[in-house]
Amino acid sequence: GMRQLVWRFQVSSALKEGHVTPTELCQRCLALIKSTRFLNAYITVAEEAALKQAEESEKRYKRGQPLGVLDGIPIAVKDNFNTAGIETTCASNMLKGYISPYNATVVQKLLDQGAVLLGKTNLDEFAMGSGSTDGVFGPVRNPWSYSRQYKEKSVSKSHSEDEESNWVITGGSSGGSAAAVSSFTCFAALGSDTGGSTRNPAAHCGVVGLKPTYGLISRHGLIPLVNSMDVPGILTRCVDDAAVVLGSLAGHDPKDSTTIQDNFKPFELPSLPDVSKLSIGIPKEYHAPGLSSEILALWSKAADLFKNAGAKVIEVSLPHTRYSIVCYHVLCTAEVASNMARFDGLEYGHRSDMNKSTESMYAATRREGFNDVVRGRILSGNYFLLKQNYENYFIKAQRVRRLIANDFLKVFGGGVDILLTPTTLSDAVPYREFIKEDNRTRSAQDDILTQAANMAGLPAINVPTALSERGLPIGLQFIGRSFQEKQLLTVAKWFEKQVKFPMIQLEEVKRHNHDVFQHQKSASFS
């Protein structure tokens, strides 16, 4: 009611009541994208198309016929989703200049709801990485690097040079999307999640990152990495918004036979969620080596919050957790080897000038088009798939996958409703530190807490929890039962209300009109 409007300004109602128009909102977001270009969150900004969409939305509002809550809401999409008429690069030379002839189903669904597509966001090349640092367009910078909260805490000598080298990563691979939402340039963004690629950058950028159950949301048009684990991810500034976006995306897609056929009913979360009847599991194996003491303490505090609210909080065990990363490494590289085989230069994407034979042209194209990380995974994957290795590596990994999935089944079957874990081992590290280790090592370290949910296909969400001693976001993760997103998001919303995560104080944005900011700063659009 009225109280909600005052306490948490809702952009959607603002649009409905004409306090702001879709074109104004779009223009302000576009301006903000320009002034935060140094973040390198966007690869392509579709300015003209976005303004046109905003105009159409405005006409609908004037007629009093908006398509829904998402009508006129500016959004961004990770650059591994096909977007008709807009370049889709996967941050790779292999697809530079590739203009998609179609929209991914999730993109189409958002557009059908009237959302305004501002542009495509930056990522690690082909979504391989956990830093959003390994794409051909350069690394994405975490907006929190420029926050007052971080600057106050840095051992700064206040030289602008030091500021330059102190910037921290967004995490990855959906770093561009996370940064875009975190810096207020859009209200929601699509990412993808194969090993944690939506939740990891969500944690580092202080936004909500939802990984839905495998099979709930269509992957049609999402350029595949690991077909048996990929899911589109949702990044927003609050849990309610994630529920709204989920509502518009979930459901069977005839174009993706791995989407389940069950009828999906969009849901609204209770305004006063109640967790007292729930059983929260704390998996002991998630107290992983390298987990920062800060995060450990926050995790413990969170468990106490639930206890004090009357929930049953118990320690549980997922014994095969530590093999999840190794298992992922084999299955991922194997599926990647297969998925990347389509890039041969013949029908789309980069094509080498080498013309001697089909095979040598393919080889040269792939030599020129893929970075080290991608090539490395292709070669490893092919190794594990060799006849002499197939049983010992690929099939072996598939057996271990079942053990990991069974671990979760046992725990959920034993009465636990939701698992509470950290999302990352630490807060975001400075870029110059991150690049000291190679991509595979980093991914192995950073995906450790998020990967198992992909292995088992379970829904999971990062909720921003508190700031670290360095003034950077720390998030905690909830993992739920298959297709129980409503319960998962209800718990996440309750937790979000408890922790009251602080808003980022971005100094750059002060230059803007205060009114503009009022709308964009709103945590939610729903």
């Binding site: 590739y98 203009i99 002839p101 495998y214 099979g215 048996s228 005839p254 036979s257 791995t258 989407t259 056929q261 095969h320 093999y323 190794v326 490494h329 084999v330 590289t333 230069g345 013949l346 029908e347 789309y348 994407g349 094509r351 080498m354 013309n355 001697k356 034979s357 089909t358 095979e359 040598s360 042209m361 393919y362 080889a363 792939r366 030599r367 893929f370 080290d372 090539r375 490395g376 292709i378 070669l379 490893s380 092919n382 190794y383 594990f384 060799l386 590596y393 099939i395 072996k396 990994a397 598939q398 057996r399 271990v400 996958r401 079942r402 053990l403 190679d438 595979r440 296909g457 298959s482």
Partner: protein, 108 residues
């Protein structure tokens, strides 16, 4: 344990991707070493899992044409084409052998 040159050569031909340098070869060796940890797990009697949706029936739609007629759209993205054909260099020519092709592995 280093990987035999024959295997590396074989991989380059299968993958149509090159190792590029010692780093590339080392990357593979480390990847194998990492993957070897899988053998610590006892998987006796455990069936391989292809998909988390294995208990469900895969959806098959009716074999009806619902879209298409977009040859022009699709051809737009190809670099070399003639009328409605994608143009490929001559096929049936195997990749040159290790000794003959430009690969870092030649030195091994």
């Amino acid at each position: 344990q280093p990987v035999a040159v024959e295997v590396l050569d074989h991989l380059e031909q299968l993958a149509l991707v090159d190792f590029r340098d010692t780093e590339g070869v080392e990357r593979l060796r480390k990847a194998i070493q990492f993957a070897d940890q899988l053998h610590e797990v006892n998987t006796d009697g455990v069936e391989p899992m292809d998909s988390v949706l294995e208990d469900r029936c895969l959806y098959l739609r009716e074999d009806d044409v619902t879209e298409g007629n977009c040859a022009n759209e699709l051809l737009k993205n190809a670099r070399k084409k003639v009328e409605e054909y994608f143009v490929a260099p001559p096929g049936n020519i195997p990749l040159p052998t290790l000794e003959e092709r430009e690969t870092f592995l030649q030195g091994s």
